[in-house]
């Protein structure tokens, strides 16, 4: 069991190593004593064991990455339906290199399309959006670790109504990799960005992306993440979205594999009147522990939220979901709904879900629902009665369950080979 006392020496060693890398002495760096390391006594970490992370050896940590296997570019780039020629590049493809920089697949510095401008380094202050999104709370663990890891940050300003596509890929193949990319996005009023993340870790490593975004009036951000990891790998994601009125934030996250994944999105509608759409799919097989803790806060009236989290737990897999929706008195006419749907397929698997509503406004429409069950017998039977074997029927139904979220992903995300692996749902153990 990982708890504060056992993790303390590990954390001290880690902070020392990170301080050296940053060229600072350990005394200038946050010390393990000031650190609020989660324990399983705290409500939000009751089910989530950090052993997978603390098994990494701080002394051997490195930032080496491999080249992602980009799907065939012709699939990625839309072409003109008449001429068949590729359209002018409003697409940017970037991959994380071994020094923490984002480069093109050819290893070159990116060329930015019109409407996408890098922010000057001095304007990229880590935590600047996070502080406004969770003003009173402490940052989640992933963001804290991201903050103490020296790594160049990418900051971009987005403008213009034509959608810009930004595809980011991280491929990790060597054990003990420790990657903490930080991305800051400033969407000008009316700007439209489609952001895709593809994270693959095939070795015992930790990936801790932190995304901060400020959405101006009527801006639109569509974020799609597919994250696949080897059983010994750890994913700690955190994102902080500050939405202005009439902005739209759509987030679709698909997570599978990993020894431990903890995803913590925070969304705040600073003046309400915005639209938030969160879709999540977690497929926990083997010994995977996949945890999502989301918080959506409405700080103004007329906000809108649609959230759907689906999890499938098989073998010894464990899925944890905690969805907080906060509707204070200023948030009249909020319309929020949240659904947690879970498939539990094995007697050694486990699902813990906790949708949460906190409301102080009378004229609102809020609801949530949660279900946990195995595959429905009548559905299985229906397929069997059409001549489909039980195993295949089971796979079809699992696939159908996943499909409801996968459909929300952009086509380009579906082309990734790692995702194809998820779609080929393995044959369950024979009884």
């Amino acid at each position: 069991m990982s708890n504060a006392t056992q993790s303390r020496p590990w954390l001290e060693a880690l902070l020392q190593v990170l301080a050296q890398r940053a060229g600072h002495s350990a005394t200038q760096w946050p010390s393990a004593r000031d650190w609020c390391w989660p324990t399983r006594r705290s409500e939000t970490w009751r089910f989530t064991d950090l052993r997978c992370l603390t098994q990494l050896d701080p002394v051997r940590l490195h930032t080496r990455t491999a080249s992602p296997r980009w799907p065939d570019a012709s699939i990625l780039l839309p072409s003109d339906p008449v001429s068949g020629k590729q359209l002018p590049a409003r697409h940017v493809f970037l991959q994380l290199d071994g020094r923490g920089h984002w480069l093109s697949p050819q290893g070159e510095l990116p060329t930015w399309p019109r409407g996408l401008v890098p922010l000057p380094t001095e304007e990229i202050i880590p935590g600047q959006v996070a502080q406004t999104v969770i003003p009173s709370g402490t940052l989640p663990l992933g963001a804290q670790l991201n903050g103490v890891t020296p790594s160049p940050a990418l900051g971009l300003q987005v403008s213009g109504p034509d959608p810009i596509h930004l595809e980011l890929a991280i491929q990790v193949e060597q054990a003990q990799a420790w990657l903490a990319p930080h991305l800051l996005l400033v969407l000008q009023p009316g700007a439209h960005l489609c952001l895709s993340w593809h994270v693959v870790a095939t070795a015992q490593a930790a990936v801790m992306p932190m995304v901060e975004a400020r959405l101006g009036l009527a801006a639109q951000l569509e974020e799609a993440t597919t994250a696949w990891g080897y059983p010994g790998a750890t994913f700690l994601g955190s994102s902080f979205m500050d939405q202005s009125p009439r902005s739209i934030y759509r987030r679709t996250t698909v997570t599978w594999g990993w020894g431990l994944s903890r995803d913590e999105p925070f969304v705040r509608q600073s003046q309400g009147q915005a639209e938030t759409c969160l879709h999540g799919l977690a497929v926990a097989r083997g010994q995977s522990l996949l945890d999502t803790h989301s918080t959506v806060t409405f700080d103004g009236p007329g906000g809108h939220l649609r959230q759907r989290h689906q999890a499938l737990a098989d073998d010894r897999g464990h899925s944890v979901f905690n969805g907080r929706v906060v509707v204070p008195q200023v948030a009249q006419q909020t319309d929020a709904s949240q659904l947690s749907r879970n498939l539990l397929l094995s007697t050694s698997a486990r699902i813990d879900t906790k949708p949460q509503l906190e409301i102080v406004a009378d004229n609102v429409q809020c609801n949530h629902g949660a279900t946990i069950s195995c595959l429905q017998d009548d559905e299985l039977f229906y397929l069997q009665s059409r001549g489909i074997g039980r195993d295949q029927a089971s796979r079809l139904l699992q696939r159908g369950f996943c499909e409801e979220i996968l459909q929300q992903l952009p086509k380009t995300a579906l082309a990734w080979p790692s995702l194809q692996r998820l779609l080929e749902i393995p044959v369950p153990d024979q009884p």
Binding site: Q329, I351, V360, N367, G369, T371
Partner: protein
């Protein structure tokens, strides 16, 4: 009128039960240590097993911390500023009601619970508990003819020590939580019910709890045992005087149902809730749990919670028996500055066990009303099912409604469904009723009781009407 101005809580609801009875009591000095625990035990001339039970619990309690995870804010309780033993003085052992102090009989008359032989409630046997001490139990004789034991916990310790020793603490262990440990160390009295094998209890049993003292803590202990095939319906009512100070009430209720037994436990809780500024009122920290020990056993909790300044209460069921059934039906209404953190725990262990949770929370004024419920399906509970529905109604824009369901499953062949929604009293519903000649207050109360109907249907008939009236009374003046 907009909904904000319509439903403005200017509640000046009078609390009908706020009077104090002047009666001589025996009290020990404030404060708690091991000698106090020993003193309580010796005053009650308890057998050794019970003294040991108390001492063990006291030691446990000292090592525990007051829980702080509930959505409740209150001044911390000074456990040394509480009187742990207070009992009405009586000249001699009560043999019949004639020997009960007339002032006490009068008190219960005023509360609408006549105890004297001539005026008894129709088909309800009542155990009257005054400041945590049982003062009278009616219909004992008639119940005894059926083999049913219905008496105070004190009497049960004397007359049925083997049952008490066997079951006390078997459902709520002494170290279960901070308040249960405290209760186990210092509990005063309470009700004891034993229904023998195959007996359907011929009448409703009821305990009426009355707090009278302003500095004594209230620590009752209730134990109900239903043997194989037995069944009983039990109702608990509670009131207290209006004091500016807060009184601590930390009771423990344990229910045990063996094979095919069924226990229905209903509560209409109307402890004093404090005034409209949140001054005074009862701090209600109660542990209630039923053990469905036998196959096909059934335990059903129905609660109508309208009182107390603070409510911390999660009546639950441990569904150990195969095909056992647990139910929780709750209406919790908070007004002014009341805070309620209430819900249930359904722990499924037995294969085929089923549970149903229906919770209706109504928050108005500046109150906070939280549902907190656990559904846990353990790996053995093949074929278990749970259905939960938690609805909140908000009246006015100052009140809070929170929903915290904890849903945990380790059994693939179990089905869990949870739904939660919030609503308010819509302007259109109000207008529709008004346009049929129904005044705004009557309309609000009609809508609220409609909202609670699923739960009221579970209450014994005569109490359902009472509960309806109680809600209407509590909401009086909530429409501007």
């Amino acid at each position: 009128m907009s909904s904000a101005t319509t439903v403005e809580v200017l509640n000046k609801t009078p609390y009908r039960y706020g009077f104090v009875t002047n009666i001589e009591t025996e009290k020990i000095a404030k404060g708690l240590d091991e000698s106090v625990v020993r003193l309580i035990s010796s005053k009650k001339q308890e057998p050794d097993f019970l003294r040991q039970f108390r001492l063990k619990a006291y030691a446990q309690w000292q090592a525990m911390e007051e829980p702080n995870w509930a959505a409740l804010k209150y001044r911390s309780i000074d456990y040394q500023d509480i009187v742990y033993y207070s009992a009405p003085l009586r000249k001699e052992q009560k043999g019949s009601l004639d020997e009960v102090d007339p002032a006490l009989l009068e008190t219960f008359d005023k509360l609408g619970i006549p105890l004297s032989e001539q005026k008894r409630l129709g088909n309800v046997a009542v155990d009257a508990v005054f400041d945590s001490v049982s003062i009278a139990t009616t219909y004992k004789q008639k119940l005894a003819e059926h083999g049913v034991v219905f008496c105070s916990m004190g009497e049960a310790v004397k007359d049925h020590p083997e049952l008490v020793e066997r079951y006390l603490g078997s459902v709520v262990p002494i170290a279960d939580n901070f308040f249960a440990a405290l209760n186990s160390a210092v509990f005063s009295d309470g009700s004891f019910v034993y229904i023998p094998k195959g007996v359907k209890c011929p009448m409703e049993l009821s305990t009426y709890f009355r707090i009278n003292s302003d500095d004594a803590g209230q620590f009752e202990r209730t134990l109900i045992i239903a043997e194989e095939g037995a069944s009983v319906s039990y109702l608990e009512g509670c009131t207290a005087p209006m004091f500016d100070t807060n009184q601590l009430h930390a009771a423990v209720v344990e229910l045990v149902a063996l094979d095919d037994a069924s226990i229905k436990y209903s509560t209409v809780q109307n402890w004093y809730a404090g005034d409209e500024n949140g001054k005074g009122g009862i701090y209600n920290f109660v542990t209630k749990r039923g053990l469905c020990k036998g196959q096909r056993s059934r335990i059903s909790w129905t609660q109508v919670e309208t009182g107390s300044a603070i409510t911390w209460k999660y009546p639950g069921c441990v569904l150990r028996g195969r095909d056992s059934v647990g139910e929780f039906y709750s209406v919790a209404l908070t007004n002014h500055h009341q805070q309620a953190d209430t819900g249930t725990k359904m722990v499924h262990i037995g294969p085929g066990s089923r549970s149903t949770i229906i919770s209706k929370g109504i928050s108005s004024g500046h109150s906070v009303n939280s549902y907190r419920g656990l559904v846990n399906i353990s790996p053995q509970a093949r074929g278990a099912r749970n259905f939960s529905q938690c609805d909140s109604m908000l009246i006015g824009d100052q009140a809070a409604a929170n929903t915290h369901p904890y849903i945990q499953s380790r059994q693939p062949e179990a089905t869990i469904e949870h739904e939660a929604s919030t609503c308010n009293i819509s302007e259109n519903q109000l207008f529709y009723l008004q346009s049929r000649g129904i005044g705004p207050e009557a309309a609000v109360s009609m809508l609220v009781s409609g909202f609670c109907r699923d739960v009221f249907n579970q209450l014994p008939m005569e109490f359902a009407a009472e509960a309806d009236k109680l809600l209407a009374l509590k909401l009086e003046g909530s429409v501007g």
